[in-house]
Structures are given as structure tokens and as C-alpha cells.
Subunit: 140 residues, 2 copies
DNA sequence: ATTATATATTTGTTATGACGAATATTGTTT
DNA sequence: AAACAATATTCGTCATAACAAATATATAAT
């Protein structure tokens, strides 16, 4: 018989994750950008001018691998990223964030930050550290 | 400037939630049942023989409201639930779990339980309680 | 009674996720 | 070099999520 605390700890984290997800999602929606697209833009910015290929992106994405090809397609259509063929290895593509992509990020970032602060407002600094520690030990 | 602990606490919980999700999903997939369908079946079982309508289900579902009508459709096709019209209020439908639905639950339950225990294996009883407390304070 | 409003469900549409197959290129083995 | 395996990406398909609109019934207001 499974312990109630076991089940509840998993359920609590699952639900908290869903609440976070839906909050961030509702913000990004206004900018006509999906969470995963946002995630890709942030990864690209983080890599400065180093090019990224699809596998690099997939590895670093928060969410499960979806269809990164098509996610990038959508970002290209919005002119937030550009894609070129890798010259040394023609199987690879190289993906860069554009100035327009950086702009939209700088627009969204402070709003996400503010909301993340709101999401965590009930936790003290010590509690946040504890939560990081504990949730990292869950489900690995 | 947002604190690293704030951002990390949210990211850790988000990722832990995704890990839980993907673990449970991969189990249920083998039984050709989605998480949300499983969730509905458990809710129905929990309500014994009391009928449930769509709104009851929606309120209790862990995941965001998807399309409950169609989820129930799929469960009916598998003969795990049945649906009748409410006699006193013809806007409502009444949904019940069938014996076949109960059977499939009793098949899956122990496997889910075992995996939930595995997911939480690195946490002590005290830590689980702490995690429940902290994650419930996040994102509300 | 007629109109308006609220409730409960269903349906249509678009976008995305999951996953496997297909294609192209590169690297390795014989 | 030919055959084969490994790597990187793209494409096809189906299921589901998100959301809006439509439909049907019930309740309330005039």
C-alpha cells in the first residue's frame, strides 16, 4: 500500500508544475509565442553568437522534445531566428537569434521575471533553496 | 533583477513536474490510455456509484480542462465508462465507470503506485512532507 | 407567454506534441 | 570503392490541447 505522503508529494509537485506552466503560457500567448519557442529564443541568446543546431536545442529545452524543426520554422517565419547550412558538415544547420528576436525577448523578459517573483512570493529565501533541493531529488 | 533562487525554484519544480508527467505517461501509454483518461477513470471510481457530469469531472481533473466531452467519448469507445442522460435535467449527462473500467484500473494501479514510490525514493518521510508544504505554496 | 440569461454539453478549427519513417550526409569497415 | 552504420534533419500522420462558436435546456425577468 502506497503511503499518502508519497502520492501527495508527487501530486503536489505535478500540480505546482501545471500552475507554473499555465501562468507562463498565458503571458506568452499575448506575444503570440509558445513556451517552447520562448525557450528556444532564450537558449539561442544564451549562446551569444555561437551557432546552434537542432540537437543542441533539443538537449537544452525544458520541455520534452517536440518537433524542433517545425518550432524553428515558426520562429523563422516571425523573423526571430535565422537558419543557415553548416559549411563543414552539411547535415547540420546553424541557427541564430536575430535582432528582432532579441528585441521581443527584452520585451517579454521583465514580465516573465515579475510573474516568477509573484509565483514564488509566499516562499522565503530559505524555503526556495529547500524547494530546489527537494524537487531536484524527486523523479530522477 | 530577479533572484537566482526565485527563478531556480520555479524551474526546478517545473522540470520535476515534467519528469513525473513523462514517467506516468510512458506507463499508461502501454495500456493505450492517456493521463487524462486515467484521471477521469480514477475520479469516477472515487465517486462510487454517484453519477458525474462533465463539469464535475472538469473541476476535479489534475490537468487543465481539455475537451472532456471527447475524452469521455474515447473512454466509451473502450467501454470503460457509460453515459446516460440525466432524467431530471436534460442538459446534463451522467457518467459512470463500468466493470471493465474498474478492471483496467485495478491492473494499472499497482504499477503506478510502484513507480510513484520509485519517483520519491530519494526523499525521506519528513522531506516529502516538506515538499508538499513548499510546492503547495508555490504558484498560487 | 416572450425574452433574456445562465447552464451543460457538443462541435469545429487551428496549433502543437509524439513518434516513426524517410532523406541526406558523413564516417567506418571490408 | 562499396556497403554499412551513424548522425542530423525533415516530413507524414495521428492524437490531443486550446479556444471559440453553436446547440439545447432550464431558470428568471418583464
Amino acid at each position: 500500500m502506497i503511503k499518502k505522503t508519497t502520492r501527495d508529494s508527487i501530486l503536489s509537485v505535478l500540480k505546482a508544475g501545471l500552475r507554473i506552466n499555465s501562468k507562463l503560457y498565458s503571458i506568452l500567448k499575448k506575444y503570440n509565442i509558445s513556451e517552447q519557442q520562448f525557450n528556444i529564443l532564450r537558449i539561442l541568446r544564451g549562446r551569444k553568437n555561437k551557432p546552434s543546431n537542432l540537437i543542441t536545442l533539443q538537449e537544452r529545452m525544458v520541455h520534452k522534445m517536440s518537433n524542433t524543426t517545425r518550432l524553428v520554422d515558426k520562429l523563422i517565419r516571425k523573423k526571430y531566428v535565422r537558419r543557415t547550412l553548416c559549411k563543414t558538415n552539411r547535415r547540420k544547420i546553424e541557427i541564430f537569434i536575430t535582432d528582432k528576436g532579441l528585441e521581443v525577448l527584452s520585451l517579454i523578459d521583465p514580465i516573465i521575471d515579475k510573474n516568477e517573483e509573484l509565483l514564488a512570493v509566499n516562499l522565503s529565501e530559505e524555503e526556495k533553496k529547500q524547494l530546489i533541493y527537494l524537487s531536484n531529488k524527486l523523479a530522477i
